[in-house]
């Protein structure tokens, strides 16, 4: 009888042991899986938090581009939160990696799990280059609201410098300073003409007025008055800026001794690259390898592809009138320079690839850009700069206009007189597309 009682207890204990073992196994494996999942989630979250910290540090450095940047940067700490719930915390530092690359190191911590990400950016320290947009007059930037949620933005890299004011609307983003009411120096064509005698030995001085009347010229240098009418190219009785402009190119720069190529540019009257009257240029209009052309009139560039003058080229177009360019575009190593005594007007250019190299514009009048497109380079207008992504039928929607800084180091192109306004910028993060020389693709990594 006693054996029978003990047998029941043994069965019960054995059963309980089996049940406990199975439950323990279930808990062991189940909790291990849960733990792995939690650890994975925390690591992934920590990576995102670390990236957020790196982006915050990048934002700080970007905003410092016009002032001195010290290395290493002061540590940046913060939290990534959703409402009142904190996901994790980050600690970000930045320091130089090489002479033209800096690195941001950001550590994100979520529930005790830490992930460190590094990202490298290219930069240029203390460079001297023209403003992206500079105007003796005012600058106006306007994006456009299209139908529905479509928007056409204006993006511009700073600095923007204006002799008067700068106006923007809600669809404009400027990366860098906007300087209003600046004294904007313009290139002087008089310095190279025979009309100005300010310590140069030439025939006349404009006295700083920008023009010389026939009477003034007669007083200053009676011996030279015989050439006055020749120099008064538009025959308005006054030798003024336009005459100086004309003379600078057709007589002065044309000479081998006065240009950077050291050759006859053939832009004097009667030469092959001198055009009189309004001109339309299309693909093939200009022989391959032509460095510069001069047009005494208006220029209408109907189509300008990167292959217009060959695979790699630098071209300068000078016009005493207005230059209208419908589709400015060029290759990554090219520089297209437009100098106009009148206005420079451009439309969208995305259809033909955009300006992959540089576009350098000087206009004695206004610079007007409608619709969208991408331009790297610099624009200096003696008058106003008017940018508008205005919506037209079938256009203007998601048709952004981007003005990027110059690719590479600044060197004055052929045809631009010295005196083109440049500014010194202490720190610039290089273009991040990696498309051309002078840019640097950011490089992310994590530990």
């Amino acid at each position: 009888m006693n054996l029978k009682k003990g047998f029941i207890i043994i069965i019960v204990v054995a059963s309980l042991a089996i049940i406990v073992l199975i439950i323990l196994c279930l808990i062991e494996v189940g909790s291990s899986e849960i733990l792995q999942t939690r650890v994975n989630n925390n690591i992934i979250s920590a990576e995102y938090v670390a990236m957020a910290g790196a982006e915050r540090m990048y934002g700080r450095l970007k905003s410092l581009q016009s002032s001195d940047v010290t290395w290493p940067q002061p540590t940046l700490t913060g939290a990534v939160s959703t409402g009142t719930l904190t996901t994790g915390n980050f600690t970000a530092n930045a320091n130089t990696f090489s002479s033209d690359v800096f690195a941001i190191v950001s550590q994100g911590v979520v529930n005790g799990r830490a992930v460190t990400v590094t990202v490298k950016y290219g930069y240029t320290a203390s460079s001297t280059a023209p403003s992206t947009l500079g105007a003796g007059g005012s600058i106006s930037l306007s994006g456009t609201h299209g139908t529905g949620n479509k928007k056409s933005w204006v993006h511009a890299d700073g600095p923007l410098d204006s002799g008067h004011g700068i106006t923007i609307n809600d669809l404009v983003q400027v990366q860098g300073p906007m300087n209003e009411n600046q004294t904007i120096a313009m290139p002087s064509f008089w310095l190279y003409t025979k009309f100005d005698t300010t310590n140069t030995g030439f025939a006349y001085s404009d006295g700083g007025t920008g023009s010389i009347t026939r009477a003034e010229a007669l007083v200053q240098n009676p011996a030279m008055i015989a050439t006055f009418d020749t120099n008064d190219v538009n025959g308005d009785g006054v030798i003024d800026d336009k005459d100086a402009f004309y003379y600078y190119y057709t007589s002065y720069l044309d000479q081998p001794a006065n240009n950077m190529l050291g050759q006859d540019l053939a832009i004097g009257p009667g030469d092959i690259y001198y055009f009189s009257g309004d001109q339309n240029f299309e693909p093939g209009s200009i022989p391959s390898g032509t460095p510069i052309i001069f047009v005494d009139g208006n220029v209408n560039i109907l189509f300008n592809s990167s292959e217009w003058w060959g695979a790699a080229c630098n071209n300068t177009i000078i016009a005493t009138g207005t230059i209208t360019i419908t589709q400015p575009s060029n290759g990554g190593n090219d520089t297209l320079t437009l100098v106009a005594y009148g206005d420079v007007i451009t439309g969208g250019e995305h259809s033909f690839g955009g300006v992959n190299g540089n576009l350098i514009v000087y206009t004695n009048g206004n610079f007007i850009a409608d619709y969208g497109g991408k331009t790297n380079g610099t624009v200096l207008a003696k008058g106003d700069i008017i940018i508008n992504t205005q919506a037209a039928s079938g256009q203007g929607e998601n048709f952004n206009r981007d003005f990027k800084r110059l690719h590479g180091d600044w060197t004055e192109p052929l045809g631009l007189p010295s005196g083109y306004r440049v500014v010194t910028i202490q720190f610039i993060i290089k273009d991040e597309t990696g498309a051309t020389g002078g840019s640097y693709k950011p490089m992310w990594q994590r530990d």
Binding site: S15, I18, E33, F97, P442, M443, W444, Q445, R446
Partner: protein
């Protein structure tokens, strides 16, 4: 006075009712123990292989996307501290190239410091596994993977899908098929699109 249980028990044995109740209770206890045993046995034979396959798939995707710190990739020194570089496709410097043949599925990409890299699965071998760069370099923990695919959603966006499947002899009468599939879309931060 002390009275024992035996002393009050009917000496004539159990009644039929007592026997039926006792049998019913015993049946419930044994059925309960049996069901726990069956559940545990089934779980052990079904869930464990599934967990193993989940780990294989997870390991494969993690290895391909994040990679591991690769000493050959060089080191970034920032403020005197060394930071290693990983060799996964997440750090590719250009849009990867995906090739798929009857014998092989492969993704080729470039890394800073390492140049051309690849992950591939040899479809002719069993069990299959993920290799990094060469057939002599299998990725640990990926043996048992049955399929992998790469889809270039955008030049800088890749969908990676890994599968592991197996026939299991579990609690059922005949072997049955279990399958684990996991996908992850990865944004290639180092690939700049125009």
């Amino acid at each position: 006075m002390c009275v024992s249980i035996n002393s009050i028990r009917n000496k004539n044995g159990f009644t039929i009712l007592e026997l039926l109740v006792a049998s019913f209770v015993a049946f419930l206890v044994i059925a309960g123990i049996w069901s726990v045993y069956v559940i545990g046995w089934a779980w052990w034979h079904e869930a464990i292989p599934k967990i193993e396959m989940q780990q294989i798939v997870r390991q494969a995707i993690s290895s391909i996307i994040d990679g591991s710190i690769d000493s050959g990739a060089g080191t970034d020194y920032v403020s005197g501290i060394a930071y290693g570089r990983r060799n996964g496709i997440a750090w590719a410097t250009g849009s990867p190239l995906i090739t798929s043949t009857a014998n092989e599925i492969k993704i080729t990409y470039n890394l800073e410091g390492l140049g051309s890299q690849s992950f591939f699965v040899n479809l002719t071998e069993e069990p299959r596994k993920v290799y990094h760069n060469s057939a002599g370099n299998p990725v640990r923990g990926t043996e048992g993977i049955t399929d992998i695919s790469f889809q270039l959603v955008q030049p800088n966006l890749i969908l990676v899908t890994a599968k592991a499947e197996r026939d299991i002899v579990g609690t059922r009468a005949s072997p049955y098929h279990i399958k684990v599939e996991e996908s992850q879309t990865i944004f290639l931060r180092n690939v700049i699109t125009p």
